[in-house]
Symmetry: C3
Subunit: 274 residues, 3 copies
């Protein structure tokens, strides 16, 4: 069902996933389950048509026939954006389709792995763990090996010390009297370790962070991360297409909450550039 | 378990749904699954009582004994509101109960189908697809046929051209330099095609949109859609009861975030009417 | 797998839960399912390492080796905070691990039960019902009996009448013309009945309410409940650690949306105390 012989448009609709377990005698006692025999039930195009014919049609056109192919944001980047949205929105079962598609679109398995690690801090631990099962299935089918994945620990990228001092001082001055724990983990763990891991580029970390913030309606934190991402190389055109992609995958309201914030960041950067 | 012979109060508590698969030899290979034999595990009232006796009691009284029967909003409309909340809040498994109840309350299968299509744009693609499985199960049990459903494509309702020009110009002027894609799909697809499909009344589209925005805490987009909905015929009394229904199904905080926005819209419309 | 013989660090990573059904002939007809034979598929540490080695490492250190052991908030309170976050964020399957851990940390089964009842009003009915299945499994394994649970109905704690009059008048004056239903259920049911049930202390009700509001990004309702919680005995240090715990379990953006609100409440209370 996940083979390359299926035409893309037929695959595009197979996104209504729910966990399915195939049973066996050994699974009767949960304590014995080490590697459960797990499969996923996928909705067939026929089943979608038997509930909402227009949804199947709209998925083919414009979503797959047009949106995914628009200029200014590559299919590879659209996959990262879509995966980030699904992780933070609790739609992890769909990753068993979209993580596979991401690899077809040029995202490396190591980048999917590191996106999950990165988003543990932005979507919370349980949302990251929810992504592990479906991605494990995709990796297993494709024969991804341990050496293809980022290690747990390893050398970090060099820190831009001056910039980091300004950032960390801001957090400390604002909130050390509110939550010393949050300040310390923000400065020492999230920004000086996680963001400096070399397995996802700074630009891609910003891309998935921005996508996650928009997809989860967190417009408040968007100004900082949008500026950071554009400093890391994201263009106005790419950000505009992140919004287009997310209109479909996170819904119009989340995108319209983000639009005024993005507009303001664009305007201030243009003014500063003159 | 879903038959009419069950008293309503006993059915009312069967809402803790998780997907359950009944196994068969043919399902061992996921590639062979075309129409998986799917059932749903439902919590019995006894199981709810074995965890939280008060939750079972409160579901009977006041939720089913009182709230669902309140004046100013029909059970039919309460079903649409509740379904919209569940779709946007990622609670789709509960639809295998609530979609059936909606039909009992007078919602047409075509209206449930079209609500899913409509909310794909407000809740995002994956939340809409998540609704397909449980609703497919309800439709199959009730013998809903293809001809009972809205077609993928068909004639649209006539557009109120002047009003649409003002709306679309506002979106274009504000955001065409931020995301041309969002502007184009908002104007050409969402408002000129989806909203104009004749399979759900404008008033009902507004009802499910308003319910979804409140249930997902999107107070920012509420002012526009509340005015649009009241222009389409929703009364203050109905909106007040949408809030009462959602207090229980989306939680008090989402409703209290919406209350000041609704109050402001009511006041401005009353002032303008004088 | 849930026995005490497993070392805590090995158990800590078993949090990627999805429902699993073990099949039997009797379950083929859902109408016959009274007590379905339910188990849960847990991710093994190996499976997590095969997708994101750093996620497994970070779960051990700093999350379990450090964060859960920090001063100023007991493991018992961290369990309540984490459970509240999971319920409101739709992560109920993880409760089959975390509800068990909570009992190990000193939370009484009656307090877990009452937290579910309380959060039905803050997270919505379906999120509360979603918690019933996993908690039922934990209670059954531990032999929790009906007499260990809070009854559906029972004597209430005495109401602080003057304080309640001020609170209820505020709600009524602000919103009785918007939604009489919301006003009535807020005053008569939520605050005069649910909050006055004696099965969870006022301090703990505030703790889970505050945790739920932060975890769901509802900063708007936080000021009132933070003041109420600190009146009920929560200290600044405890609130700071609630934020630290939630940074990991609800993600950094939700916590950073709450930080300015908490800072403001702390400052105003300090000024008022002088």
């Amino acid at each position: 069902m996940m083979t390359k012989s299926l035409p893309p448009l037929a695959m595009a609709v197979l996104v209504g996933l729910v966990p399915m377990e195939t049973a066996s005698a050994q699974q009767a006692d949960p304590a014995t389950v080490q590697q459960p025999n797990v499969a996923l039930r996928r909705l067939s195009p026929d089943q979608v048509r038997q509930v909402a014919p227009a949804l199947e049609q709209l998925t083919q056109q414009p979503l797959y026939g047009e949106v995914w192919k628009r200029a200014d944001l590559s299919p590879r980047d659209r996959s990262l954006v879509t995966i980030a949205a699904m992780i933070i929105r609790g739609e992890a079962p769909a990753l068993s389709y979209y993580a596979n598609q991401a690899i077809e679109n040029g995202v490396k398995p190591s980048e999917i792995s590191e996106t999950i690690v990165h988003l543990a801090f932005y979507a919370g631990w349980s949302k990251a763990f929810a992504a592990v099962g479906p991605v494990h299935e995709v990796f297993a089918k494709r024969g991804v090996q341990q050496q293809d994945l980022p290690p747990a620990l390893g050398p970090l990228l060099p820190l831009a010390v001056e910039e980091d001092e300004a950032r960390s001082a801001g957090v400390r001055d604002s909130f050390s009297n509110v939550s010393a724990g949050v300040v310390d983990y923000t400065n020492d763990l999230l920004f000086r370790q996680i963001w400096q891991r070399p397995y996802l580029s700074a630009r891609d970390r910003s891309l998935v962070t921005i996508a996650a913030l928009i997809a989860d309606g967190k417009a408040q934190q968007l100004t900082y991360h949008l500026n950071r991402g554009m400093d890391h190389g994201l263009s106005e055109g790419e950000v505009g297409e992140v919004l287009t992609q997310l209109a479909f995958y996170a819904g119009w309201p989340s995108v319209f909450s983000a639009l005024p914030v993005v507009k303001d960041v664009f305007a201030k950067r243009q003014a500063a550039a003159q």
